[in-house]
Structures are given as structure tokens and as C-alpha cells.
């Protein structure tokens, strides 16, 4: 396939250029990159013949010639817009590199650290697909958040991932590692923003571990430009009695895809995967989630909601695995989408793989337009049709956004929903 060859040439050139740089490293680190890159080339990008990518055609990504994103210094004024009111602990990661200078981490409580670590120093992640391979080949350093056992971090920690476009489309390959020790508690806000105009391709891999009894509240706010490509693989493991909560908000990107794999690997572990996405124009949002109930007595809750307009397309695939050991599993999944235009389209699929018998698994999906009866009710009280639509969209989005505990983040997300939908 000529296209495949071209695509490989592009990445080969970028990889060759990387090889000549000190950041490529040497020894085991360099070897690991080579292995990952070979695997990426051998595998190639998924096509719509791959079940997990059936509705997500990544041809626009394959068609572009990317360069590895260069070191960049974002405009300070623009950077201010990335911050959230009242969130003072901020790590700024520009084109995948942690910037000590732009970050404000001095006030972090004892036992909490955000550091940049050699990739070889953090555990490997499973080579799930070509994008993980690509990340492993191009990642420079891992951003590591460590929270020591028993440490309760009251204030949220904002990891501000910023993509600064270059002359050629920029490939940004961040790797994030979050380790919450036994009984630790932390709220992490992972945001993605483009600063400047031009095409960026963020291909991030996050590895989150909540140790037994730990509580990790995780907000992911993707607000990149509608020209950006965003692919995120998030792997979460939660130990005995631990809790993981995810609020996955996707508001930008020409193609945005999240793969979240949440493994409940200890008894009584709990996870909540909530998501809100908005897609307009010609954009595509794909959320593939997997909740893997490996042990008994684990509840999981999942609510994904989407708002689509224009010719936007969305995919939701919610897999729930209940392993033979996972008796007394209680899994609930809901998936709703609002289609504001006739041309918007969603493909949604629950996927239950249940290998234990004493379990509760429920799932429901509702795809539709704004409720006509509710619109009329509001209008009949004097509220204009436009205002009534806005109110109903707010209510729909609020269902997920209200779960975000940091008010300024919640409000910023709601404003972005409004901006995207021009309401």
C-alpha cells in the first residue's frame, strides 16, 4: 500500500532525526525505543478492518507528515488562560516536556512530587496498539506523579499539557505515570490545550496506579483545537478497597480518541468512569472504555454522554469484563447522546464479557434529540426556544460535569461546551 509506505517514511524520518538527539538516550533506553518503533512499523496503524477501529477512520492522521514536536516556549499570556482559578499546584508540560520554570509545584505537601523521569525508570505499559508503540518510540521522559502512602492531598494538582504547533504538524508524545500509595488521596486534573495555530498530534499514554485504599479523582479535560489530533491511552489499576474516579471531558480535536482500561485488581475496589464529549463540524470523538473486574465485590459506575452537531461523529464502546473471580460484581453502565443535527451520527456498543455467575451488570443507551416535550414546557412558560435548548443542553452536560469537584474546572468545561456549540 503506497499510503502505508509514505506514512512509514514520515515516521522513519522523524525517528531517524530523534535518534541523532541526546534525548534519544543510549543503552537500554535507546534499545527500548528501537524495539517499540519496529513494532509500530510492523503493526502499522489500525484500519477500519480492526474491530476496535471500525468506526474511526484515522486516515487523516496517517495522511499527514508529522515531525517530533520541538522544544517550545509558549506565550506567557496565552499560558495564563490554561490555568484554573484557585488551582495553584500546576505542572506545565510543553510538547511532552515538563517545564520546571513554568510550573508551580513548590507548595506541594510533603510526600507528593511531580518529576520528570527516564522512561526506563518507570514500568512498561502493555503494547496494546500501534499508538502505544508510537508513544514508546517517541516519548522523551515520563512525567511521574508520586503520592506517598497515607498522604491526603486536599488541593487538586493540575497537569497542564500544552501543545505548541511548529511549522510542520507536531507529534507530541507524553507519558504520564501516577502512583498513589496505600490510602493516599489525590485529585488530578489532566488538561490538554493547543497554544498557537497549526496541527498538533498528541499521542499520550497514562499509567495510573491506585494502591490499596487509595482514592484517585481524575479529571481529563481535552480542549485542543478542532484541527488537532488527540489519542490517549489510559491504563488504571486500582488495588483492594481503592477508588478511582474518572471525569473524561473531550471538547476538541478533529479526531479525538480515548482508550481507558480500568482494572479493578483488588477486592472491594471501586471505579467510576464518567465522560462527556462534544463534537461539532466534521470532527470525530471515540471513547473506548474497558472496566475489568478481576476481583470480587467491586462496584463500577459508568456514565458517558455526548453532544453532537454538524456532521460530527462519535463512537462509544463500553466493555465490561467480569473475571471468574469477580463474584458480587455490581457494574452499571449508561450511555447517552444528543444529536442536535440530522447529519450527526453515533455508533455505540456495550460489550459485556461475564465469566462469573453471582453478578449484577446493567447497561442502557439512549440516543436522541432534545426532548420536545421539555422544550415546549419551557417555552410555554415564556422561555425562548434558544434559551430552552441551552437550558436542556446544560442539564444534559451538567449530569457529568457536576461530578467534577473543582468548581473552576467544572465551570471552564461548561463554558467550553457552550463555545463549541455556539450557545
Amino acid at each position: 500500500m503506497p499510503q502505508l509506505a509514505e506514512q512509514q517514511d514520515t515516521y522513519q524520518a522523524a525517528f531517524d532525526a530523534f535518534r541523532r538527539e541526546p534525548a534519544f538516550g543510549s543503552g537500554a533506553e535507546a534499545d527500548a525505543r528501537e524495539v517499540a518503533f519496529d513494532r509500530f512499523l510492523a503493526r502499522g496503524y489500525p484500519t477500519t478492518r480492526d474491530e476496535a477501529w471500525r468506526h474511526t477512520n484515522i486516515a487523516p492522521i496517517a495522511a499527514l507528515s508529522f515531525e517530533r514536536a520541538a522544544a517550545a516556549v509558549p506565550d506567557t499570556a496565552a499560558l495564563a488562560a490554561v490555568a484554573f482559578d484557585g488551582v495553584s499546584h500546576v505542572a506545565v508540560i510543553v510538547n511532552g516536556r515538563l517545564s520546571e520554570k513554568l510550573s508551580s509545584l513548590a507548595g506541594l505537601p510533603a510526600g507528593v512530587s511531580v518529576t520528570s523521569a527516564a522512561v526506563g525508570a518507570v514500568p512498561d505499559v502493555a503494547d496494546l496498539n500501534a499508538f502505544v508503540d508510537l508513544n514508546s518510540a517517541f516519548v522523551e521522559h515520563a512525567i511521574v506523579v508520586d503520592v506517598a502512602p497515607k498522604v491526603v492531598v486536599e488541593a487538586p494538582l493540575h497537569l497542564a499539557f500544552v501543545a505548541v504547533p511548529g511549522r510542520a504538524p507536531a507529534l507530541v508524545s507524553p507519558r504520564l505515570v501516577v502512583r498513589a500509595g496505600d490510602g493516599a488521596q489525590v485529585t488530578i486534573i489532566e488538561s490538554y490545550t493547543d497554544l498557537g495555530s497549526g496541527v498538533t498530534f498528541t499521542n499520550v499514554v497514562a499509567d495510573i496506579h491506585a494502591a490499596p485504599g487509595a482514592f484517585v479523582d481524575h479529571v481529563k479535560l481535552e480542549r485542543q483545537s478542532n484541527e488537532a489530533f488527540h489519542l490517549a491511552t489510559t491504563i488504571v489499576r486500582t488495588g483492594r478497597g481503592g477508588t478511582f474516579r474518572s471525569h473524561n471531558v473531550t471538547l476538541g480535536g478533529r479526531i479525538a480518541r480515548n482508550d481507558i482500561i480500568s482494572v479493578l485488581e483488588g477486592e472491594g475496589a471501586e471505579c467510576t468512569l464518567n465522560g462527556l464529549y462534544v463534537a461539532t463540524g466534521d470532527t470525530l470523538v471515540d471513547n473506548h472504555t474497558t472496566i475489568d473486574h478481576a476481583k470480587a465485590h467491586c462496584p463500577s459506575h459508568e456514565v458517558y454522554k455526548g453532544i453532537l452537531s454538524g456532521r460530527a461523529r462519535a463512537v462509544f464502546n463500553g466493555k465490561i469484563i467480569v473475571r471468574p473471580d469477580a463474584q458480587k460484581t455490581d457494574a452499571k453502565q449508561t450511555n447517552k447522546a444528543l444529536l442536535l443535527t440530522d447529519d450527526a451520527q453515533i455508533n455505540t456498543k456495550p460489550q459485556l464479557e461475564i465469566f462469573a455467575d453471582d453478578v449484577k451488570c446493567t447497561h442502557g443507551a439512549a440516543i436522541g434529540q432534545l426532548d420536545e416535550d421539555a422544550l415546549f414546557y419551557l417555552q410555554a412558560r415564556g422561555i425562548s426556544l434558544a434559551a430552552a435548548r441551552t437550558m436542556l443542553i446544560h442539564a444534559f452536560a451538567g449530569d457529568v460535569l457536576n461530578g467534577i469537584r473543582t468548581a473552576s474546572v467544572r465551570d471552564a468545561a461548561m463554558r467550553l461546551v457552550e463555545t463549541q456549540l455556539s450557545i
Partner: protein
């Protein structure tokens, strides 16, 4: 005349429901509309409030000298038309007080009155909630969500008390109310009776009319008003049902 409906014809989903309905209501009056199930009472209420699913295929509605059919539902509401729904809609995620404040301020803005801020609104809302002996916590719940049948009906009249409409159409507000609630809601409605306001109550039960005493009672059957009279007509209907009216109506049509 506050409201003048002439030869109104309304169709929904290809079905002709109102087939030449005439009705005139003066300011200060209370009219009761009774009639068998499916005769078109709610359709009349929906047509008055501008429901998009109900197509007016003929006739006119003049209200305050305006051609009501020219107005969007929200414009009608801003002009003082209020319908208490037979089946109030549940709206998850929209706070009752927030919704009603938005509605009231839309109406006030239209009237050229200053909008109320949150404090002023809550003062008014609490006052009106008291009038209807309504649990204040209902203000902070989602619109009608999880409300009992009776609570929903009470919430409708509460909204009416806040919005102070010029023309109110109460569609079976009494059904689903227990005896005490009926008395409370009726006295709430009575408190809103005013010389510049008209109220149309749609009901199946004469009992409501003991509390809200109408000036005129109409019988709606098969899409038309087939008989009008005083209070005593309601008593007669209670006693004899609708059967005795129908032939006469047919006669009238011939």
C-alpha cells in the same frame, strides 16, 4: 372580550380534533370546560399555548386584541397566556427555582419590567409557595422530577401564582389531588381571580367547581362546544352524564 375563539380547527398527526370550536371569555371571568375523554379539551389548551404538534387548520383566536396564532409559544406566555399542563413534564437537571426565575424574568422583560435578582425572586417564590402550602424543598429539586402526581399539579399552580398570567387554562389540575390538596389549590386559584384576569378550568368533576365557582360552564364534545350554561349545567352533567347532550348537539349541527 379578552379571548375570542372562532371556528377553531386543529389537527394533530393527521387527525382532525377540534372541528369548529367557538368560545369567548371576558376578563374577570372563570369558565369551566367539561366533556368526555378524547373530546379535545387538552387539544384546545395546547392550541392556545402554541404547541408545535397541533396544527391550526382553520379559524381565529383573538386575545387582548392580538392574533394569538401569530405568536410563538414563548411570546404567548410573555403576553400572559398560561397553561397548567394535564401532564406536567419532568425535566432532569433543571432546578425548579432556576427555571421559574428564568421564566418570570423573560415575562418581566417582555413587559418592560426590571428583572428580579436571586434574592428578590426567592422572596416572591417563598411567598407564593406559602399560598399553596407547598414544601419549600420542591423549589430546589429538578422540575417535576420525582414529584408525585399531586405535587406536580400543585407545582403548576405555584408557577401560575408566580407568573401572574392574564389568561390561565388549567387542564385537569384537580385530577390527582387529594381532598385537602384540592382545597388548597382551589383557594390558590381563587386568590388569583382578578378583574383583569380570566381563568379556564378543564375538569371532569363538578366537585372542583364547588371551590372555584365558574361564571360559565361549557361542554366540549367531538371537537366543538356543544352546550354552554351556568353553574347548574355542571350539576346536571354530574347527575346525567354526557349522553343526553350528544343528540341535541347533533341536532344543533344539522
Amino acid at each position: 372580550m379578552l379571548l375570542e375563539i372562532k371556528d377553531l380547527r386543529v389537527r394533530a398527526e393527521g387527525k382532525d380534533i377540534l372541528k369548529g370550536l367557538d368560545l369567548s371569555v371576558d376578563a374577570g371571568q372563570v369558565h369551566a370546560i367539561m366533556g368526555p375523554n378524547g373530546s379535545g379539551k387538552s387539544t384546545l389548551a395546547r392550541a392556545l399555548s402554541g404547541h408545535p404538534g397541533y396544527e391550526v387548520t382553520g379559524g381565529t383566536i383573538r386575545y387582548k386584541g392580538l392574533d394569538l396564532l401569530d405568536l410563538q409559544p414563548e411570546e404567548r406566555a410573555c403576553e400572559g397566556v398560561f397553561m397548567a399542563f394535564q401532564y406536567p413534564v419532568e425535566i432532569a437537571g433543571i432546578n425548579n427555582a432556576y427555571f421559574l426565575k428564568a421564566a418570570l424574568n423573560a415575562v418581566r422583560k417582555h413587559r418592560g419590567e426590571p428583572e428580579l435578582d436571586a434574592v428578590e425572586f426567592m422572596r416572591l417564590a417563598r411567598d407564593r409557595a406559602k399560598l399553596l402550602e407547598m414544601d419549600q424543598t420542591m423549589l430546589n429539586r429538578s422540575v417535576n422530577e420525582g414529584f408525585s402526581g399531586g405535587e406536580k399539579k400543585r407545582n403548576e399552580i405555584f408557577q401560575m401564582a408566580v407568573l401572574e398570567p392574564t389568561l390561565a387554562i388549567l387542564d385537569e389540575t384537580d385530577s390527582g389531588l387529594d381532598i385537602d390538596a384540592l382545597r388548597i389549590v382551589a383557594s390558590g386559584v381563587n386568590a388569583l381571580r382578578a378583574p383583569d384576569r380570566a381563568i379556564i378550568v378543564v375538569t371532569h368533576y363538578q366537585r372542583l367547581l364547588n371551590y372555584i365557582v365558574p361564571d360559565v360552564v361549557h361542554v366540549l364534545s367531538e371537537g366543538r362546544i356543544v352546550r354552554s350554561g351556568g353553574r347548574e349545567l355542571a350539576l346536571e352533567l354530574e347527575e346525567k352524564g354526557y349522553g343526553w347532550i350528544e343528540p341535541e348537539a347533533t341536532g344543533a349541527r344539522a
